[in-house]
């Protein structure tokens, strides 16, 4: 059934809210932003047609308040809500409430979300769809004793995981039976704190796996296609840091097998809209189902670059009841794309987050560069949310070109006032193992454990000294109050210097 969407409320913030607003505008759809107190001057608010205050800064009092968001949508006549990622994007109750209120939720139906949202029920669905998965418990473990039994059956090393998890919370790798009981308790209590459910399951730990995921699109007419894969093996503490498409190790046959398995899973769960099936892939090209993300993901731009498709446009058309615009055999992958997640954090100081004012911003551009960004000079990065500032995406005909473009763009990129992880990306992209695609989910931890190599073309120290001296001279304040306003800064500085002597 075709339904027209004329106005979309974007229930999110940051770069993804802006990304969705841009996609809507291109299709002539009006946009509504919502914001917390910390975000009154945020970029997503400045780009929307309408904007409404949600509440105080903490997400629990603003972006997680589905009731408030739905009430605003109804009041201002929004036909649909796009949840972005995070916050309410995988909340089945919210999707259901939207449906009851006759507001289109741009995402999968609540029932499909429920099946795939819990890792344990998703694993059962994967079994039904004949999807290979890592050996382990299908249901949550009742106790540490049960964990010991399952681990003895499948063999060590094993990984404990929170059933409702995400973002690496509630996960513990265990190498032997001695450590299992304490790891079980720790993972379960962390899961309870983070997700409100202490349910934990156990899987065999795959040696040096690569994280490779399949992007899906499904419409409500029973069509489902896969748009190739993304490799997200560069991770820190189970959080993705760099993503690329395609993966350097996936050939046409493996892509087809993984894609078809992912499509089977989606169809069996009655899935509609954008989704991603995550896999671990071992050195022998075996792939194992990990979980399904029932939303648009952070790393969707690399798929957009290599397919030439706009996933947000597709989401909107699907939500309007239209059939998919292309068939599987019409999906073409071309070139290579790499994405870096730019965070407000300090890799040289224990990755401490660095909220604060952006005093200076030099953004990269040029061929093959895309920046999905939510910052501007003068904007203060609040301490209440995720530290992601922007995503930098580089595209090239092949992997090496994309990486070299990314390095060039990172050299251009300067964010002043706060610390960022830009320097870490420069290090990774120059690393021989990364350039040769010798990566797995443990790659980044190993790189960080190595001493940092010096850059080959260091700026001469004298030039650094002259630059610092000129900046200092420009900042030297006038000391004597009698100094006239028309006097040059140089004269003022000279006088100040004389007074100091």
């Amino acid at each position: 059934m075709r339904r027209l969407i004329q106005k979309v409320l974007v229930a999110n913030r940051g770069e993804i809210a802006l990304r969705v607003i841009r996609g809507c505008r291109e299709l002539g759809i009006a946009t509504v932003a919502v914001y917390s107190d910390a975000d009154r001057a945020a970029l997503h608010v400045l780009h929307a047609d309408e904007a409404y205050r949600l509440g105080p800064s903490p997400a629990t009092e603003s972006y997680l308040r589905g009731d408030l968001i739905l009430a605003i949508a109804q009041r201002v006549g929004a036909d649909a809500i796009h949840p972005g990622y995070g916050f309410l994007s995988e909340n089945a109750e919210f999707a259901e409430a939207c449906k009851e209120a006759d507001v289109i939720f741009i995402g999968p139906p609540a029932a499909a979300m429920r099946v795939l949202g819990s890792k344990t029920s998703a694993r059962q669905a994967a079994d039904r769809a004949q999807m290979p998965r890592v050996p382990g418990s299908v249901t949550g473990l009742a106790s540490a004793d049960e964990a010991l039994l399952v681990a003895a059956e499948i063999g060590y090393p094993v990984m404990l995981k929170a059933a409702a998890g995400g973002g690496g919370k509630g996960m513990r790798a265990v190498t032997g039976a001695d450590d299992l009981a304490s790891a079980y308790t720790a993972a379960s209590s962390e899961a309870l704190r983070s997700f409100g459910s202490g349910e934990v399951y156990l899987e065999k730990l795959i040696d040096r796996p690569r994280h490779i995921e399949i992007q899906l699109m499904a419409d409500e007419h029973g069509n489902c296609i896969y748009l190739g894969e993304r490799e997200c093996s560069v991770q820190r503490r189970h959080q993705k840091v760099i993503e690329e498409a395609p993966s350097a190790v996936v050939n046409d046959d493996l892509r087809r097998r993984m894609g078809e398995a992912a499509v089977r899973l989606a169809l069996s769960a009655g899935y509609v809209n954008a989704g991603t099936v995550e896999f671990l892939v071992d050195a022998e090209e075996n792939f194992y189902f990990l979980e399904m993300n029932t939303r648009l993901q952070v790393e969707h731009p690399v798929t957009e670059m290599v397919t030439g498709l706009d996933l947000v446009h597709m989401q909107l058309h699907i939500a309007m009841g239209e059939p998919l615009p292309l068939r599987q055999e019409e999906v073409r992958l071309r070139g290579h794309a790499v994405e870096c997640r730019i965070y407000a954090e300090d890799p040289e100081n224990n990755f401490f987050p660095c909220p604060g004012e952006i005093t200076l911003l030099e953004q990269p551009g040029g061929p093959g560069i895309r920046e999905d960004c939510a910052i501007y000079p003068g904007w203060t990065v609040p301490l209440d949310y995720d530290p992601m500032l922007s995503k930098l995406i580089a595209y090239g005909e092949d992997r090496v070109t994309a990486i070299d473009r990314m390095l060039r763009a990172l050299d251009e990129y300067v964010v002043g006032g706060i610390r960022t992880n830009i320097g870490l990306f420069q290090r990774i992209l120059r690393d021989e193992d990364f350039r040769a695609a010798r990566i797995d989910t443990g790659y980044l931890e190993r790189l960080l454990a190595r001493p940092q190599e010096l850059l080959p073309d260091e700026t001469p120290e004298d030039v650094v000294a002259v630059a610092a001296a000129i900046f200092t001279a420009l900042q030297t304040p006038a000391v004597a109050p009698v100094v006239g306003a028309d006097e040059s800064r140089w004269l003022q500085s000279a006088r100040a210097e004389g007074l100091r002597r």
Partner: protein, 167 residues
């Protein structure tokens, strides 16, 4: 004019002189760095953004607080007159005694792990601060006694704010 700097553990003396009128911070400059002459063409493009041309080689220099960024490389510097630099270096050695543990970033205090009077080991956790959905445990820089706790659970702290003093 002359500027004294501390960069990468080295003390530098930079003389900036305009070679064709104008002021000493823009245009053609005759610089003397630690006694060695260096011809530089400088142009301030906007606040915090400077272009230097040295021997035909162009450097885009950006100022980020007390850091100069050139070609993506960050170099921290400190400007001072020679006497205060000397004074500070002298004071560095005497950093024994009470040490304040400061917040490395703004955030909210979620846990205080010690009490006044507690004996702590070096690297023992003292306070947990949360910012941007991440919790960070701040550790004691030395073994000693907690003599002051400046924050309580729920407090918002600014970067550089004192949390705990260990003596």
């Amino acid at each position: 004019m002359t500027v004294w700097l501390q960069i990468g553990g080295r003390r530098r003396r930079v003389e900036l002189r305009s070679s064709e009128g104008g002021d000493a911070t823009s245009g053609a400059l005759a610089c003397v760095v630690d006694g060695m002459p260096l011809a530089v063409e400088a142009r301030l493009l906007r606040a915090g953004v400077l272009s230097l041309i040295v021997d035909g080689r162009q450097y885009r220099c950006l100022l980020d607080g007390d850091v100069v960024i050139i070609d993506g490389q960050r170099s921290a510097f400190e400007a001072a007159d020679p006497r205060s630099l000397q004074a500070r270096q002298g004071a560095g050695a005497a950093a024994e005694g009470a040490r304040a543990v400061k917040a490395p970033m703004p955030g909210r205090v979620v846990r205080v792990l010690v009490n006044v009077g507690d004996q702590v080991e070096a690297q023992q956790g003292l306070v947990v601060i949360e910012a941007m959905k991440m919790q960070n445990e701040l550790k004691s820089p030395k073994a000693g006694k907690v003599v002051r706790i400046a924050v309580a659970v729920g407090d918002t702290v600014l970067a550089g704010g004192v949390l705990v003093v260990v003596e």
